[in-house]
């Protein structure tokens, strides 16, 4: 990552020099002191390599005491939201990273209600931020909004599953979606290309809006432009995660040891792990900006349009109206049935005695 070095603090005696070129330096110093906050949500069926990938990306163990439930337990479970926060510091720069995990997603036999919990969580974070922003004391607003969602696609399928499509369509207006294919060591290079293309085609076909890397500015240097171009061309990223050190070609690398060879996590010829990491790091700022400028603003305008009524109220209203209508329908049906029964009785007694039949015409 090579950005131009900020201009040195030049001699104030130089004619025509005001000094505000030093502003970026000041901003930079302040940000470093304040630290950065970033919330990453991870969604995908269990067993797709999510936890391993997160641990590999941030070189840490976010799930030290993890118990993997058996299938019988999974039958009863609903989707949970588990957020773990970790503070990472590198060269004086502090990052407060929150990883939001969604265990139970895609596990049930009937996944129709899978994403309600997740969408509710995202909306709740927006709601909270909106509330804080509109409050009196706005000094310490904590930003817990979800800045990025890694959506894990199974490498075993032929493309997107119906669940993938439905979920992404439900959240693409609320959060930046970055599709990821983990456990990519199960695919040969040709299969990878085919799968990536198939997924991109299906994403376009269904009108799903995934996060697009911004093009490099025209004043960036060639290397950066080339790197951005490569990154854009590799979406969705096919990655392999691991924190185990394996001996390969004389040095220790992070990888997976198979009887037929070693898959190296940080080898660009083996998988796109480095690309994913680069993208996340260099575009963390942009992801936050898009969340603020696009998704949050969308949410805010929707909310304010509804005039302060919360979503739950609206739904309750709808439910109530439905119930009332159903009750009324039932009442009408009962009335009709009663009238028909009466008519029947009249007809029968009418045949007995031949006096005029009182017909009730409904």
């Amino acid at each position: 990552m090579s950005k131009q070095q900020p201009a040195q603090f030049t001699n104030p005696e130089t004619p025509g020099y005001v000094g505000f070129a030093n502003l970026p330096n000041q901003v930079h110093r302040k940000s470093v002191k304040k630290g950065f906050e970033f919330t990453l949500m991870v969604v995908g069926e269990s067993g797709l390599g999510k936890s391993t990938l997160i641990n590999s990306l941030f070189l840490t163990d976010l799930y030290p005491e993890r118990i993997i439930p058996g299938a019988a337990d999974k039958i009863e479970r609903t989707v949970q939201i588990e957020a773990s926060t970790v503070e990472i510091e590198e060269r004086g720069v502090k990052l407060r990273l929150t990883v939001v995990d969604t265990p139970g997603y895609g596990d049930a036999i009937n996944c129709r209600d899978c994403f309600k919990t997740i969408i509710a969580y995202i909306d709740e974070q927006f709601e909270r931020y909106l509330h804080d922003e509109s409050g009196l004391n706005r000094r310490h607003i904590i930003d817990n909004r979800v800045h990025c969602c890694f959506y894990f696609i199974s490498p075993f399928g032929h493309g997107l599953k119906p669940l993938d499509v439905e979920f992404m369509k439900a959240i693409h207006n609320k959060v930046n979606i970055v599709p990821v294919i983990a456990k990519a060591d199960t695919l040969s290079l040709k299969e990878r290309e085919r799968l990536k293309k198939r997924i991109l085609d299906e994403i376009e076909e269904h009108g799903i809006k995934i996060y697009h890397l911004p093009d490099a500015e025209s004043d960036e240097d060639e290397d950066f432009k080339e790197q951005t171009r490569l990154l854009k061309a590799s979406i969705p990223f096919c990655v392999v995660g691991s924190n185990q050190l394996i001996e390969a070609k004389g040095k220790k690398v992070r990888g997976r040891l198979y009887p037929w060879g070693v898959v190296e996590v940080e080898n660009p010829e083996h998988n796109d792990f480095l690309k994913l990491r680069t993208m996340l790091i260099t575009h963390m700022q942009d992801l936050q900006e898009v969340t603020q400028d696009l998704h949050y603003e969308n949410f805010r305008s929707e909310r304010l349009k509804r005039g302060g009524r919360k979503i739950e109220d609206e739904e309750v209203n709808k439910d109530q109206i439905l119930l009332e209508k159903e009750a009324e329908l039932r009442r009408m049906q009962e009335m009709i049935a009663r009238m028909q029964a009466q008519m029947q009785m009249q007809m029968q007694s009418g045949e007995g005695d031949s006096s005029a039949v009182h017909g009730h015409h409904v």
Binding site: H158, S188, L189
Partner: protein
């Protein structure tokens, strides 16, 4: 004979508990009236040769069903098992096709021949299984299909004028593909096997096993076996049908190493001067028939080379009989009506 990686350990353990396995006697082990000592060679044992000749002439049917989510390598594996293009993949199916909205049953038949023996192989595929958002009861079309084949056979059997050789469309073996998550079975896997293990021989396999390292594989298999046991699911070879000690010993070994973690491929590559079936990756070539890479060879030997006939027998003698008994019971002990009067009878179990 079946060869497994844990063979030596088990044999050593077994020999402590059990005396040397007896030589298979010339007369059958079932008790006979008088065990007459033969005064000379009669030639009774040539019946084996006579049966062999007959089988070769008539050939035999084998119907194998594959069940699992789309993309788990079912078609490729079946092609690899029978070393020919026998699956849906080769008969006009395009992998770009959409996932069907409901489970479909597609049966494709081929006749393959080896060493003068003809086999009419039918591969029954079940696209759409487990792929929807709501997969409730997605095993019902499969159960219905299996029972329909039993019904067809039953109708032929009770016919007054029976065919000499009733065409056998019953499912002899169902390969169930487990996704290699490395965690545990999925709720759908449990439900399917619970419902169908009483109706058909289920052989669970772990698909695309090249995604797991050796330790992950062993751990996963253990966990899956335990889950199946805890939930009372008996896969083939079922413990209750072991006929004698010899069977039990052999089958115990097999059950210990199931489910087999397999890799399928229909492409050949050059490795150490030989052409082998495999998958090529930037970090090495995975050889399908190499036991240190995956257990495909074990699955093939098990299904085809040692237990093919047994699969058919268990289907006929146990699963089919269970179905037949239930049907006769429902009918008050009478066989179902003949073909002429019930042309469009649907099995409505």
């Amino acid at each position: 004979m079946f060869k497994g990686p844990v063979e030596n350990k088990n044999e050593a353990a077994m020999s402590e508990l059990v005396p040397e396995p007896r030589q298979k006697p010339v007369v059958p082990m079932k008790p006979m009236g008088i065990n007459a000592s033969l005064l000379g060679y009669i030639g009774i044992d040539t019946i084996i040769e006579q049966m062999r000749k007959k089988t070769m002439k008539t050939g035999f049917d084998f119907n194998i069903m594959v069940v699992g989510q789309s993309g788990l390598g079912k078609s490729t594996l079946v092609n690899t098992l029978f070393k020919s293009q026998v699956s849906r993949k080769s008969s006009g199916w395009n992998r770009e096709e959409k996932i069907p909205k409901t489970v479909e049953i597609k049966a494709i038949g081929h006749v393959i021949e080896e060493g003068g023996v003809k086999m009419k192989l039918t591969v029954i595929d079940t696209p759409g299984f487990g792929d929807q958002i709501n997969n409730e009861n997605c095993w019902e079309p499969i159960e219905k299909y299996i029972n329909e084949q039993y019904e067809k056979f039953l109708k032929e059997e009770v016919n007054i004028a029976r065919k000499k050789r009733i065409p056998d469309t019953r499912v002899h073996c169902c390969l169930y593909f487990i996704s290699p998550t490395g965690h545990s079975l999925r709720p759908l896997d449990l439900e399917f096997m619970k419902h169908l293990s009483k109706v058909v021989n289920i052989i669970p396999v772990i698909a695309k096993a090249d995604t797991m390292t050796l330790e992950e594989k062993t751990e996963f298999k253990q966990r899956v076996r335990k889950e199946l046991e805890v939930n009372g699911i008996e896969f083939y070879p079922q413990k209750e049908f072991d006929e004698d000690l010899e069977d039990k010993t052999e089958n115990d070994k097999i059950r210990e190493s199931m489910p087999f973690a397999v890799v399928g491929s229909d492409k050949e590559y050059q490795v150490n001067g030989k052409r082998v079936l495999g998958r090529k990756t930037p970090w090495g070539i995975i050889e399908v028939e190499n036991l240190s890479h995956c257990e495909f060879a074990l699955l093939r030997d098990f299904v085809i080379r040692t237990h093919l006939q047994d699969l058919k027998e268990v289907t006929h003698n146990i699963h089919y009989e269970t179905y037949r008994a239930k049907r006769l019971n429902d009918n008050g002990g009478l066989p179902p009506m003949t073909v002429e009067t019930e042309e469009n009878h649907e099995s409505n179990l």
